[in-house]
Amino acid sequence: MVSQDALNLAVSLMTSHFGDLVAKVCGCLLQGGTLSLQEIVRCTELSNSQVKNGLLVLIQHNCVQAFSVPKQAGAGGATKSLTQYMALFDNILHRMRFTKFLAIVRDDLGPQCETLLEGLLQHGRLTFDQLVVRATSKQSEDSSSIRDVLRKNLERLVHGQYVERCPRPEPFIAPTSEEGTASARRRSAKSKEETYSLEQQAMIAAALSHAERFSVITDSGRESSDVKDADKQDVSVGDKRKFEVLELDEEVQAAITETEVLWRANFQKFVHCLEKKACVANVRSRLGLDAGVVLEALVESSDQEKDNFVKASMDGILEAVRGKPGGISMTLEHIRIVLDQLGCSSSIEDNNVFYKMEVQCIIESCQNDEVESLVLSRYGKEAYRIFRLLIKKGSLVETEQISDITFVEKKVAQGILYKLWNDDYLYMQKVISIGAGQLQHFLWKVEKHSLWELVLNHMYHAALNLNQKIAHIVEQEQEVLQAREKREQLRKSRMILELSLLKVDDALMLFHDFKR
């Protein structure tokens, strides 16, 4: 469940992108959780067709996932399937980040792929044929050559996992209670470990396998996907007729793929790229340019990217470093020192030195920076020092000790601590010691989990405000069309706001999307 600030931001984004009706449907789903069409109609007080259209827009743009569950019509009646809709909050917020996603592809694969991705982002999901139509309507070139170029570019995008096949449109979720009773006990033991909500089950059921997601268009045997390769191996060499039939099938398959398979941007990959970028930027500012280069190389050459660490062999790192600007001049010794500075641990496997690093540490450091900076600007330098001490200690610290270490007068320290506590930045515990008389001691601590949540909500609110102010300025720009000077001033303000929104969104991702 998302917080009210987050919900407001999502609805505001929907309003500015798709208008009030769609935003209303989306808001209803975000607020009420998973709902059926009839429930949405009741909740929004819109007409049946309005809601239907709204849902179609949302599904087209990957903001809503549909799934069906069995429902008994009346007591003892026949079981029918009922379609449910759920809003995908993360995907809605990703709409703020399209310019960032496009920049990533431009840097990696060039402007042609960027244009192709732009089409997908603009329309949510498209088939290859639709992409071709979109491209040919803009250019007057020979459409078949355009088609070839587009196919190649789409394959590059899919290969880089920037683009994927859309998930299943409406998976059917069978209720677990109706399964056989024989294995019930075993299942109940298992379900303790992994109980998924209906929404999670739907997401899992809708998801394609890795091979399916990134299998490219088969073009009459010229380039075939991993899946098709696997099929081919099953055919024995002597069985020629069968093989021909299969080839024909592939052609048909390719045609079907081009007209029917829907493609969309793979947000997961982009989040991952942005995470890497944020880590490299942080390390670069802390430890210098070379450290940034080495970290980038480590992440890129990491062969097993597990949940919370990257690991790569020295050879792999070296090769990746050489490919980077400024990497040629780095010696092996220098790279080793930098890896050490980064806090990597090394191990030897199969005569190869491997370096391992917890990416989460860098993310945490970025998060700390963000919150500390907030404390500095809201509460001042002394509060900043106190807050940093408490973050560093990570446990309860007594007022006097805090005052001593931070060189803040006891009374002042007390005041600062109280203010921080009052604004939910700190957790406080009162301890009474009984000695000569009763003495009250106050212990303080940063509860990261709840504070991070608070800061995240603050960010949602700030992003919402920026978004609203931008919309307001756009309105004003329309009003003052005649007055050039005012218009120019408004344009400048809008640019500042848009840039700030991108920055606040960077911070948002740091606290919401980069959590592993």
């Binding site: 500075q341 920076d369 907030l374 600007s377 020092r385 931070t406 007068e409 700030a462 303000s493 700030s500």
Partner: protein
């Protein structure tokens, strides 16, 4: 039976140096009470409670004892209004005085700032330095009139690290760390490299807005009418 002989006077006898000259009864009782509290001292109100003497008597006796240079008044860091008395031979404890960084019951900011500046300067000169290096360097410079201990320097340096003026590192033993033993904690200046970074949220008005909790899209306080925004964007219509 030795008990009857253990009168207060006799118990104090071994410590003949601090044996007070013959004092009137009231002063003697108060003096012994004050002295028994050693370096913690005692608050006048507590004296009255414990001795049962009258206000005026206590005040008079304390004045007399002060004149005889037997007791002194000390500022209590926790409560400056509470007058605390202590026998002259004791130095106030850390709990009373606030520790080495306090003088007259308040933080000696002047001394702290001088020491901070010196530590920063010496760390910058030394590039990478251990706490011993910094302390030696400061002592050798002879700028400080009062000697400072290594502990004091360490406390200052740690606070500088909290301010992100410097950073605390472990020496790798190579490169710029070649002068420091591997694995040893050392300090390096952060000037020009990482001053407290301005966060993304704190760089916009909403990040530091005191009224953010009352701000709603269509409320009295809203981004559309926000004065902080207009100030920030220099929009005045």
């Amino acid at each position: 039976m030795s008990r009857p002989s253990m009168t207060p006077q006799k118990r104090a006898q071994p410590d003949s140096q601090s044996q007070p000259p013959a004092l009137p009864e009231n002063e003697r009782i108060l003096y012994e009470l004050i002295k028994s509290r050693k370096n913690m001292g005692i608050w006048t109100a507590d004296m009255k409670k414990e001795t049962g003497l009258q206000n005026i008597v206590v005040t008079k006796a304390l004045k007399s004892l002060q004149n005889k240079n037997l007791i002194k008044d000390v500022v209590n860091v926790h409560n400056k209004a509470r007058k605390i008395f202590m026998a002259v031979e004791f130095e106030p404890s850390k709990e009373v005085s606030g520790g080495s960084w306090y003088s007259e019951g308040s933080l000696d900011t002047e001394f702290i700032n001088i020491l901070r500046k010196m530590c920063l300067k010496h760390i910058e000169e030394l590039k990478v330095a251990t706490i011993e290096d910094i302390w030696k360097s400061i002592s050798a410079s002879g700028v400080l009139k009062v000697a400072c201990t290594m502990q004091q320097v360490l406390e200052i340096v740690r606070a500088l690290a909290l301010d992100k003026e410097i950073e605390e590192l472990k020496s790798t033993g190579v490169g710029e760390f070649s002068t420091v033993q591997t694995g040893k904690v050392c300090y390096r200046s952060l000037r020009g490299r990482e001053a407290p970074r301005v966060g993304h949220l704190s760089s916009i008005p909403c990040g530091v807005c005191p009224r953010i909790s009352e701000c709603t899209p269509d409320g009295v306080i809203s981004p559309k009418t926000c004065v902080y925004y207009n100030k920030w964007l220099k929009l005045e219509f």
